[in-house]
Amino acid sequence: MQLPQILVDAYDAYKGKIVKPSDNLLHKTTGLLQNGMNARAFGEYPSPEALGDARWTDELILSTWYMAETGKVPSDMNFKTGKSDGGFDRLDFQFLPEEEWLEHSEEIDTAIPLNRRADGKHDLGIDIPWYGGGMSYGSVSINVMMARAKNAKRWNSYMSTGEGGYPTELYEVKENVITQVATGYFGVEEETIQAAPIVEFKYAQGAKPGLGGHLLAAKAGEEVAKLRGSVPFVSLFSPFPFHSTYSVEDHSKHLDWIETVNPQALLSVKVSTPHDVDMVAVGSYYAGAHIIHLDGSYGGTGAAPEIAKKNIAMPIELAIPKVHKFLQKEGVRDKVTLIASGGVRTADDIAKAIALGADGCVLGTTDLVGMGCTRCANCEGGPSGRGCPWGLTTTDIELQEWVQQDWAEMRLDNLYKAMQWRLRDILRKLAMDDVSQLRGRTDLLRYIGKEGVE
């Protein structure tokens, strides 16, 4: 049998045809990339003609780069919304008259608690109402993973491992790393569960609900395979769903199992957004979840069938109010943390998600864009089979070096500063001094027609 060329190339790369870049090459390439990103973000050159799409416009990408470089929001670009013609892009805030605004202040509290059950487990919280979503080792490089994890530590927040195991380097920041248990159990070990302050059960992913996980062969190199207990250069498909779960009772047993291994860990349940997502959320609460994490259908992925991304399950904007209201009706809303993800791009999106009923959000693509992603959609390997040419979603020996940890961590730190600033800006214009006051306040939102979309 003849192997596909893409696999032959990947194997050749692994065997040494592609090598770690020399210091000179690293210096040259990272210098050009970083200077180029800054020049584009600062408007020294026109926006690249082929950059952006309806959800992430060129302005949104470049403004995210600007924030990642400066720690400030730009004054001459739309850093708030895309042009998708619906959802977050059609929602805006009804701010109070200017004379009622609060002063911009670091006293405006953006922290939220994660454990609302008062059950004696870790009393965890985060200083900003968002944390990093699961991106596995293999789907992204170790440099990207460590930059995100270190930045999470810096912000007293978290980052999920995704389903790809727990690289040794992560133990350095284990207090801020969520261990994900997904349907393939790749890399799930007693040790990694015991290390985690939060354990996340991933039932489904918004970009490919009901389809399990995909890591295509070209990206499943030796290190990745070793961590996942698999064979190098063989495609890895996590099944769907958990083969041991057919009911809420089965789900409850899963959570009991984690509790036995790590009694103090908070339990997060990540689900996508089917029609009965409200029932799923309540079931998860009664099974013992501290965090219900909804992942909407416009969310990111390292590889997913194109047909799944748009067509299966609902966008997060439509799922949040449904779940929030149902949890309220059931009388359990204040006993569980509702986290939203899947198409949450900006501080404005986060604020809108909270106003719709979430407690906080999870970011994935935003982090990647902050580090240079242009959303070219070749994360799965692309025609080269080597993964992301920017060095983000790849474990290619050469490419992954284009993203250096310190540089990437600095950019994420800056991006988060700008986002927190913008979130406080929104809160103060609503005369709120605590982000928790915004939850469920749909009365502060307005729906704008096409003529009002920026």
Partner: protein, 526 residues
């Protein structure tokens, strides 16, 4: 059912029931008892099991014959590039360590600058739009969307649909990409419908996803709601009149000027390969000698008596007589039924009065209705096909004859996701028209709305084997994508998806539920 029956095997079930009368077991071997019926059933089941093979579409990547315009144009300023090379040579070159790997490092992992003179002669056909070169060298590199690609298709069948079909027909695989959804929120037509999924249910406990056990076969024809027997065990009432195809799509009559002889041969051989049917002009079928079980000759209703000219066909389709658009041509239908043992289907356009026409056809005994919207998926009053298919489906339910009539529908089906959405809306199977043209790398000219006015050309010197493989690949890809949707829902057979509106979610409804109390929201959907 995932078992792929041959035509003979597909009819075994029907024959088993008919056996009491037509095969005359009772006369040959005595009275048919329950025990004898049981033993015959066992025998047939054994034969079927012995001939079992899992249905599969053999896909194989094929080369382009007439490639689409590439996605991007890459412009490199020659002076800028030469200046860069000079600067870097001065900066990095040392006689003892020339650093050529640094000086000639190229910012593209896809080979756009891989030619002998690198960026001086870029290869835009390899560009995937990562923009790294344009960011890394903003002074002299530009990546632009290719206007030639953007011009393909029309306002409904966009270049996005065409490039997706092209890729599916080339590779025969489910397109998989990184990053999330890139398009608009919701949208009109099929875009306004989402399919549901289940967090814990799947079609089977077996296999990675259980999706290899999902059935995509559908029955074309009529199934009685129940069987009736006399005291001797003979069937006295109607028996099933149907045949089975292995995928819920057929090839429709090529619109406009696309119905060439070579296209007819390609769809015929592909229909046989994947076990479905192709609707072709009856005169073309005769002229080319294409009569086979995989062809549904389409003829004017007044020519119904000529159905006898197609002894191998399992289905004949009748269209209405021009000039008498709203009169049900009962005589033509009856003549066709008298002339052939094949199932006689009726093609009905979604024009004013289609409901009456459909009722008349069913009253006259039509078992298959082939519904036609325009190629933008709209009826003559502008209603989109999801609503029209639903109306037709509900009419049959109200008349208590849904399983006695097969609904095939066409119009606006240009993406893999449109197949399950049309079935959810009430169809048994969809008919493919324009996707055939684009799978074969044909080009359209002008509007793609009115069937009769469609104009297109296929690649010159069309290799029919190549074309058959392309079309087979498209079908394989669309079937696999259907399996993804069904697997996510936990539905084991596509037949169970028919009219399951509850398996879909409408963006307009979801939005109303989510945003109704938000100031300024007036409904209607994004």
């Amino acid at each position: 059912m995932i078992i792929a029956f041959s035509l003979y095997r597909a009819n075994l079930g029907v024959r088993m029931l008919e056996s009491t009368t037509e095969l005359e077991y009772a006369e040959v071997d005595g009275k048919l008892t329950l025990d004898r019926f049981s033993s015959q059933s066992t025998k047939i089941a054994r034969e079927t099991a012995d001939s079992y093979h899992r249905y599969h579409i053999d896909t194989e990547e094929v080369e382009d014959a007439d490639p689409l315009p590439h996605r991007f144009l890459v412009e490199v300023g020659k002076v800028g590039l030469a200046t860069l090379l000079a600067k870097e040579t001065l900066h990095y070159f040392r006689p003892w360590d020339p650093n050529f790997d640094v000086i000639f490092a190229r910012p593209c992992t896809y080979g756009v600058f891989s030619g002998p003179v690198g960026g001086f002669a870029p290869k835009p056909e390899l560009c995937v739009g990562c923009m790294r070169c344009a960011v890394q060298h903003p002074e002299f590199v530009k990546v632009l969307p290719n206007p030639d690609l953007l011009e393909l298709g029309d306002s409904y069948t966009t270049h996005g649909h065409i490039t997706a079909i092209d890729e599916e027909a080339r590779k025969g695989m489910v397109p998989v990409r990184g990053q999330g959804y890139r398009g608009r929120f919701g949208g009109p037509g099929f875009d306004g419908m989402l399919t549901d999924m289940s967090e814990i249910v799947r079609p089977s406990r077996d296999g990675i996803h259980g999706r290899e056990l999902i059935g995509t076969s559908v029955d074309i024809g009529s199934k009685p709601m129940h069987l009736t027997f006399d005291s001797d065990g003979r069937i006295t009432g109607p028996t099933p009149e149907m045949f089975t195809i292995q995928v819920p799509f057929v090839f429709d009559l090529p619109p406009g000027d696309l119905g060439t002889e070579e296209l007819a041969r390609v769809v015929t051989s592909t229909a046989a390969e994947i076990d479905t049917i192709a609707c072709l002009d009856a005169s073309l079928v005769l002229r080319e000698g294409l009569d086979s079980p995989y062809i549904a000759p389409v003829m004017d209703a007044v020519m119904g008596s000529r159905a006898s000219q197609f002894p191998n066909a399992r289905m004949i389709e009748l269209t209405l007589t021009p000039g008498r658009p709203w009169g049900w041509d009962c005589s033509g239908f009856e003549a066709a039924c008298d002339a052939t043992d094949a199932i006689v289907a009726v093609r009905i356009a979604f024009e004013e009065g289609w409901q009456d026409l459909m009722s008349n056809a069913i009253d006259a005994g039509a078992k298959v209705i082939h519904l036609l919207a325009d190629l933008h998926g709209e009826g003559s009053d502008g209603t989109f096909v999801t609503e029209l298919f639903k109306e037709a489906h509900m009419m049959l339910i109200e008349q208590g004859c849904r399983d006695e009539v097969t609904l095939i529908g066409a119009g606006g089906i240009v993406g893999a996701d449109h197949v399950p959405k049309a079935i959810i809306s009430g169809l048994d199977a969809v008919a493919l028209d324009l996707p055939v043209l684009f799978a074969l790398q044909g080009r359209s000219h002008g509007s793609l709305k009115e069937r009769a006015l469609v104009s297109g050309t296929l690649p010159k010197n069309l290799d029919e084997n190549w074309a058959q493989q392309r079309l087979t690949n498209l079908c394989g890809s669309w079937r696999d994508q259907l399996l993804e949707i069904l697997g996510a829902m936990g539905v084991r057979e596509v037949r169970r998806l028919r009219g399951e509106f509850g398996r879909s979610m409408l963006v307009s409804h979801l939005e109303y539920e989510a945003f109704e109390d938000i100031s300024g929201y007036v409904g209607g959907g994004s």
